[in-house]
Symmetry: C2
Subunit: 357 residues, 2 copies
Amino acid sequence: MAEKKHPNIRIVDIARMAGVSTGTVDRVIHRRGKVSDANLARVNEVLRQVDYHPNLVARSLASGRCHTIAVVMPHFATGEYWADVDSGIRRAEIEAGRYNVAVRRLFFDQYDRTSFDDATTALASETFDGAVIATLFAEQVVPLTRELDARSIPYVFVDSHIPACRELAYFGTSSFDAGVVAARLLTDRTEPGADLAIAKIVRTGNGGSNQCRNREAGFRDYLARTGFAGNIREVELRIDDREYNTRRLDDFFREYPRIAGAVTFNSTCHILGDYLARRHRRDVRLVGYDNIRRNEELLRAGIVTALVAQRPDAQGYHSIMALCGFLTGTGSVPRINNMPIDILLRENIDFYKTEII
Amino acid sequence: MAEKKHPNIRIVDIARMAGVSTGTVDRVIHRRGKVSDANLARVNEVLRQVDYHPNLVARSLASGRCHTIAVVMPHFATGEYWADVDSGIRRAEIEAGRYNVAVRRLFFDQYDRTSFDDATTALASETFDGAVIATLFAEQVVPLTRELDARSIPYVFVDSHIPACRELAYFGTSSFDAGVVAARLLTDRTEPGADLAIAKIVRTGNGGSNQCRNREAGFRDYLARTGFAGNIREVELRIDDREYNTRRLDDFFREYPRIAGAVTFNSTCHILGDYLARRHRRDVRLVGYDNIRRNEELLRAGIVTALVAQRPDAQGYHSIMALCGFLTGTGSVPRINNMPIDILLRENIDFYKTEII
DNA sequence: ATCGCAAGTGTGTGCGCACACACTTGCGAT
DNA sequence: ATCGCAAGTGTGTGCGCACACACTTGCGAT
């Protein structure tokens, strides 16, 4: 075992076949110019004939260039959504490290718009060869991309898509369709004609994220299309104020007693789930997003009916690898990569591990 | 951008620091012996101090060893289940190729037990460094593993797990739990007390696959646990005899008119779906397995209610990569890798592409 | 004193490629 | 006829490592 070699075709072989030197082959492969039309055609013909694939290991070793990727993403605690994205980034980091590609993270607060601008400012004075941008605040991402365009730095979007930018690639779900799926799951299990609740977790004056808005649009679109007959009631909750939320929800459910299903468009459906559990309200179906730890616990406990998930780990992994492939010239990737929209129930949640993509 | 180098520590640096030659460092790193105790200790101390990590790219290029992985899997046509597994294998093949790991396939007929033995016989006279085995026929896989154990060849299981073997790793779903999920999806949408049908597609005298048996066990277990009150009726169909199937199903549904839901435990629920579509029977809910083309079409058409899927592409990909990592000494992987059990509805099927793991 | 041999050590080469550099050729301008 | 220069071409070196090979050292046997 562990035999000698697979007789792969090398640059020297190409050169010999085309009757030129390896330098010329190299110039053709890398489009460095300074090659006569005749030789260009001949080398290209040989490359085509033998279906040449460069040995990427050797290329990486020889070129020895080092690239840096800046990642602009929310900071996170264990068990939160962006921790899963980061675990994919870390996986990619190891793999990309073999090709001399390093990753540097810049964090912002996902509940604070201004912190994104701070991260952007910090980025302006850094040198790096590519960027991965979490697109939570679409309005602020756009000017950042203009700046990167001007500096000719490629960038990848992760989380939700922003139109009219020149991103190298996008990785995330179709937020609109993720909203549609949530609506299907919620109405599948709720008697017709009952009311539905939308719980929004925001910080005052902060607006909603790009993604939450699009999910809500898909959710409402599905209900309209399928002739949903009940009312949709909205309630605003706070990320870090459990007492406020309890009072607010007590009032809310008193005011709208016919509510039989609820949805939250970011990953915090556990806030509503905690409340329902404490109040022993098993009559309200709850559908939320993302397989973060608290949500998983409530799904197992039967408080949450279903979770819509989006492979955060894979999003992080592919964002880095796409940029890595571009920078090292070893791979290309489609521009729009809509990830699968996963449906998690009590029966399959145990197998939805992010480590296995 | 594209800077010079990350100043990594190389073997020459280690050698200089320890006051020995690179050859000695190499012998220490690879535990080749023939090093004096004093030098061994000194080199190890330096390795520890600088936290040396070998450049795997350079290692791969230098060692130039070539490994072969034999894959024993069912042959397939476009759009069939194993075509998706193979697409993952092909993806891994490209990546593993960079580390001089090649893949060779041996095919058998998934509906013919004896063909597996033929493939096994062919394998006996081949030389290879590792094997990936599709575990459809558990009884025949076991003796094959004994032989591989004797030859000290590592092997990876893919599809369904077989206990009491010495596999390096397993990639696939928990078949039992995939059966549970199907039962949940079917009974969620079917009125209580109605009968259910299990359609089995077999070749005479061939028994069922390992996986189908376990899925059925999980399916029945869920029904028993949740107090299912109806009857479960079985019907046997043929893989390539549409006329027979039509007659058989006409008889079957005439005999059992209260059937409101049906399941098929392999990927051929489209056979039953085709029948239901032709007979305009929208009153029978149908749950099946695997996102193969015909099943997807029927899901979009509303004939199939839900599909349970298992990331065939990822199974193929990881099976190869696990073996590749083991053979090149660049990675290790858990032994049991239960893949996620995916739920596909009309609303999310469009995004379930196997190319994006 | 010399030899053989084991144990230990260092050097040289090549993996396939990228890239700097030296070199050749042919043309128009003088 | 000679020169300068652009366009085109080939050679040499090194990336970091693995491994074959040559070599040194020190010991016991003769």
